[in-house]
């Protein structure tokens, strides 16, 4: 599934959608990394508003993008996370790595 990416030097936002699992995360990762490596933004925002399901493959996806942004001296933000996805993220302690905004909060 193509990821819509709003490219901006200060803030680049990737709008994720559908289901994030081992199968889909490979393609999502490639698209985000291509944009980030090309723009080198100060901040990367992963928007989960359109995500209906995520397993631990999504943790790998967020952690990997955190490392990428960290290596470039940038920041990572995660927003629009629903309750079940938040449960998986909290289990991994992602809320300690990046600022996470929940859906409707």
């Amino acid at each position: 599934m193509p990821v819509k990416i709003e490219k901006n030097k200060n803030l680049t936002t990737a709008f994720l959608s559908g289901e994030i699992d081992h199968h889909s995360s490979v393609f999502i990762r490639e698209q985000i990394d291509e944009a980030v490596n090309c723009i080198a933004p100060k901040e990367l925002c992963l928007d989960f508003m359109g995500v209906s399901f995520m397993d631990s493959s999504g943790i790998g996806l967020v952690m990997g993008r955190y490392k990428l942004m960290h290596a470039m001296g940038g920041r990572l933000r995660v927003r629009g996370v629903n309750r079940s996805t938040m449960k998986v993220m909290k289990l991994a302690g992602l809320d300690l790595l990046a600022k996470i905004d929940c859906k409707g909060e």
Binding site: H22, S56, I59, G60, L91
Partner: protein, 145 residues
């Protein structure tokens, strides 16, 4: 105790089947009228177990994944996910959070998610023969009077 309803599903270990497997199991369990959170927990745990079969058990090959789901009279769901893949040398190590034999973008949290989202999980494995993961979860939401 005998299941009051059961189903079996056999899949090839293509990653595209991860989505189908979790949706099929959750649709079968939906008859118990679970909450959205319970369904989401089951979907996530099944997804982790099936992904393990694909990524680890049948790494670089394609094999079959055997799923059995039983529903019991006390609203308990038992999900058994079995492969005939490489087996796990050290189950304790494999279940340690953040450990992964495939560190490239794998968080090493598959078993941690299964443990946290189910009431009970058992893992049996024989090197060279395969692994069986059993997930047990009680659907609490709407117990009938």
């Amino acid at each position: 105790m005998k299941a009051i309803n059961e189903m079996k599903l056999t899949l090839e270990s293509h990653s595209v089947n991860e989505s189908f497997s979790r949706v099929a199991v959750s649709a079968f369990v939906a008859g118990l009228d679970p909450t959205i959170e319970e369904i989401s927990d089951i979907k996530t745990a099944v997804s982790e177990a099936v992904t393990n079969c694909i990524v680890h058990a049948y790494k670089n090959t394609v094999g079959r994944i055997y799923i059995w789901v039983g529903i019991f009279a006390d609203q308990t769901v038992k999900i058994r996910i079995r492969d005939r893949g490489c087996g796990i040398a050290d189950i304790h190590k494999a279940m340690t959070p953040l450990f992964s034999s495939e560190p490239e973008e794998r968080a090493g949290l598959g078993f941690a998610v299964m443990q946290s989202f189910c009431d009970k999980i058992t893992v049996r494995s024989t090197l060279g023969k395969g692994t069986t993961v059993t997930l047990i979860k009680k659907i609490e939401s709407k117990e009938r009077c």
